[in-house]
């Protein structure tokens, strides 16, 4: 079998601070340059390019037409898409390579949150603008909350999740502490404790400033090739063993709150493809979306890592810690590293690739053979993507 698809290069540009010295095109250029260097390729080797960006977050329509030059896609059969998380680019790229195995496909995504005000009213209006204009939007526009619609909606599902599983605010705070510690492995001076998380600003109970990921600027490029072509490239390729993506109902009133059905179904497809029956035993490391602390736990449940009634004991036993049996977000996740909306999905992939290659300096978990990356579209969508990656 020579037609499996591999990740042959990764390039990430991210920063906890606003990146003001580069435009979004330049950010993407640097990420792509890194990925090409990683794979030992040049621009002329690229056959096809895919980017994923969100128009309304970028503030320009057809925002993906501007990314073409930065990813070396000029006069190539570029196939760009938007309105999806970057991880969807990986799925489309996978299918491109399967449909034409001779191709080298570049998948990229960029987000410059610092060009807008992530906490401002404009962004909160945007959340309402992603609802259908007849039923849900008028209700959401009527939410007069200075801290924003996003937190209110997140609080609703967090409450539903806590009610169902019996988890407490302290347990959610532990997730935030774990991820913040993971993100700063060498930092012994500022011990991060639950106390600090529970004392952070309340946005909409139980959502606090520190149980919600902060938006950051980032760009990520991933290069895909068939197994046959990957053999000739200089970095260690990582197999894509399974992919799955899925969306639940968009109409909030009709959707069950506090569960992530979309993640469950996406994982179901990915596991089926990868031949995984016991994800809790077979997966060595997972990077899942922890946009909010409760979301990490909700996704772990939907991914089949544990049952709803086991979450509490797993937190207490440290199953998801870096030293645990199934490390989740050993890189620090979104809570620790920041959330580049739309790009963080691809960054999760890059993190898992580094772990499998054994190149995750400071964050490395030993003996990772099979890793999982997950991404969720954020409030108010119910869109998820799952990729299972394996060692060469």
């Amino acid at each position: 079998m020579n037609n499996r698809v591999c990740i042959v290069g990764i390039g990430v540009v991210e920063s906890a601070e606003a990146i003001t010295q580069f435009s979004h095109k330049e950010l993407l250029f640097h990420a792509t340059r890194k990925a090409l260097d990683d794979a030992g390729l040049e621009r002329k080797d690229i056959d096809s390019g895919i980017t994923a960006t969100f128009d309304f977050l970028e503030g320009r329509s057809l925002s993906n037409q501007f990314t073409l030059d930065s990813i070396g896609g000029v006069m190539k059969p570029c196939d760009l898409r938007l309105g999806e998380d970057g991880i969807y680019g990986l799925f489309a790229g996978y299918m491109e390579v399967m449909a034409d195995p001779s191709q080298i496909v570049v998948v990229a995504s960029v987000q410059k949150a610092s060009e807008r005000d992530p906490e401002g009213l404009g962004y909160q209006k945007l959340i309402a603008d992603s609802m259908d204009p007849v039923f849900s939007r008028p209700v959401c526009k009527a939410v007069h909350n200075i801290l924003g619609l996003e937190s209110v909606l997140a609080a609703m599902e967090a409450r539903a999740f806590m009610d169902r599983t019996g988890l407490s605010e302290e347990q959610l705070a532990k997730v935030a502490v774990k991820n913040l510690k993971n993100a700063n492995p060498g930092d012994k001076n500022s011990p991060m404790e639950e106390e600090a998380v529970l004392k952070s600003d309340l946005l909409s109970w139980p959502i606090r400033r520190m149980t919600k990921a902060k938006e950051v600027d980032a760009a990520c490029t991933i290069i895909l090739a068939s197994e046959k072509r990957a053999k000739d490239l200089h970095s260690e390729p990582v197999f894509i063993r399974g992919i799955g993506w899925c969306s639940d109902k968009s109409h909030l009133p009709f959707r069950e709150q506090g569960v992530s059905k979309e993640t469950k179904w996406a994982a179901h497809q990915a596991y089926h493809m990868a031949g995984i029956r016991r994800p809790d035993k077979e997966i060595d490391l997972a990077e899942v979306s922890d946009w909010y602390a409760h979301r990490e736990l909700m996704h772990c449940e939907a991914l089949g890592f544990c049952q709803a009634n086991e979450i509490g004991s797993h937190i207490a036993e440290g199953m998801f810690e870096r030293e645990g049996t199934l490390p989740v977000n050993a890189s620090g996740g979104l809570l620790g590293r920041g959330n580049a909306v739309g790009t963080s999905g691809l960054i999760r992939i890059a993190q898992v690739v580094q772990q499998i290659r054994g190149q995750a300096n400071g964050y490395q978990v030993s003996g990772v053979e099979v890793g999982l990356a997950h991404s969720w579209g954020g409030i108010p969508t119910a869109t998820a993507g799952v990729a299972v990656l394996g060692k060469w």
Binding site: N3, F54, D55, F56, G59, R60, S61, L62, N64, Q65, F66, L68, D69, G73, V74, M75, K76, P77, C78, D79, L80, R81, L82, G83, E84, Y88, F91, A92, Y94, M95, E96, V97, M98, A99, D100, L126, D129, S130, M131, D132, P133, V134, G244, W245, C246, S247, D248, K249, S250, H251, K261, E262, W265, A266, Q269, G377, T381, T383
Partner: protein
């Protein structure tokens, strides 16, 4: 092993300005129509691919997400593609990739656009340009295309009268199309007398602002042969894209669409077509402006480079001509809901199947080609259909 992919059904709907239906309802209608035409149920669909160019038209962030329920894609893999106007063809190409890769057997492709829900479509179009250099000039599509049309006419020595003949042909063809928004019986003089929007582009050289949707169901070889004795296969696909910075391209002459030639070459190579002029029986090309049809006919090799003027003068592209182009009326006559320009592909399918009704051309159609164009003179996507 790359799988063969066939079209097993299309879903149509009338194109209108200010449609009463919401985005969800529009999508429900075409989904239902496509399922009925193909004899499938929504449970048979493995995955859904959406195509819509500009969210700002209908004012919904991620407008495909609100329509997932209406498309039968609930808790199934759904994906959204957007390459401006070429969404019309690059979305079915993404659907093709879903099936050709072996991931899925039956894929629903839905393209939609609700352009009339804002106060002015051209004000929305201004937001597609570079915010530092181009947007402040107040550029919009007619101005952008006026520049390109001028360069094109100059490069090949073509005339505005030849452009006008395309408008007369397409709007006239639309008279037979039950889904058309703007069928008109015109003369060349009517078009020439219409006001200039951006010289040399006149009002009747353009296409209208439209709401509408189209659906296409794609299937793998096994499924297609079960549903249909003589399926319409996707024989070739091709895409090309040039730099967004059109002043700095290798070929700075706007008159020649290098990226469209690139896309057509890929599609024809894949389909094994060497002489498109002789081997293509029917074409639906992207004609938001009259000169675009002429440019695309050249890029697709339906006439020699620079020969599009003679093609229309000699009546080759008329409905009863040797190589009919846009017998459905094209975007000019049928309406131009950017992404839902996938209608071009639907009509190729209907012509090959002999189901085009009053639009059916009076010749055998075995091989047809459709294309889409969009962006800052930037993208082109080409698809070749044919039977065995």
């Amino acid at each position: 092993m790359v799988k063969r992919v066939a079209i097993v059904g299309v879903g149509m709907q009338k194109f209108e300005f200010r449609k009463r239906e919401t985005v969800e309802e529009m999508i429900f209608d075409v989904t239902r129509d496509a399922l009925e035409n193909s004899g499938l149920s929504k449970d048979d669909i493995d995955a859904v691919v959406f195509g819509s160019a500009v969210d700002a038209f209908c004012g919904i962030h991620n407008s495909d997400k609100v329509a997932i329920d209406a498309s039968g894609g609930l808790l199934k893999p759904t994906m959204r593609n957007s390459t401006s106007g070429s969404t019309a063809i690059s979305t079915p190409i993404l659907g093709y990739t879903h099936v050709a890769s072996g991931m899925y057997d039956i894929v629903m492709v839905i393209c939609f656009e609700k352009m009339s829900e804002n106060h002015a479509a051209q004000a929305v179009f201004n937001t597609v340009y570079d915010e530092a250099f181009v947007r402040p000039i107040g550029l919009n599509v007619p101005i952008q295309c006026g520049l390109e049309a001028r360069a094109y006419l100059h490069r090949y020595g073509l005339t505005e009268r030849q452009m006008a003949k395309v408008s007369v042909k397409n709007r006239g063809n639309a008279l037979a199309n039950p889904y058309a928004q703007l069928p008109m019986k015109l003369t060349v003089e009517d078009v020439m007398a219409s006001p200039y929007l951006s010289w040399p582009v006149k009002l009747l050289d353009t296409s209208p602002v439209t709401d509408g949707a189209r659906a296409v169901i794609l299937a793998s070889e096994d499924v297609a042969k079960e549903l249909d004795d003589d399926p319409v296969w996707i024989k070739g696909v091709g895409r090309g894209a040039d730099s967004v910075w059109f002043m700095g391209r290798r070929n700075a002459d706007l008159g020649r669409l290098d990226y469209a030639y690139l896309a057509a070459q890929q599609a024809y190579d894949m389909a094994g077509i060497r002489n498109p002029m002789a081997e293509i029986d029917y074409a639906e090309v992207y004609d938001p402006f009259t000169y675009k049809e002429m440019q695309h006919c050249e890029a697709l090799g339906l006439c020699p480079e620079g020969g599009a003027g003679r093609m229309i003068d000699e009546g080759i592209s008329l409905k009863d001509g040797d190589l009919p182009v846009n017998a459905s009326g094209g975007l000019q006559g049928e309406g131009n809901p950017i992404g839902a320009g996938m209608s071009r592909l639907c009509w190729c399918y209907l012509q090959i199947k002999g189901k085009a009704g009053a639009c059916q051309v009076p010749k055998d159609v075995n091989t047809a080609v459709a294309n889409g164009w969009g962006g800052m003179y930037q993208y082109n996507a080409v698809m070749v259909l044919g039977r065995d």
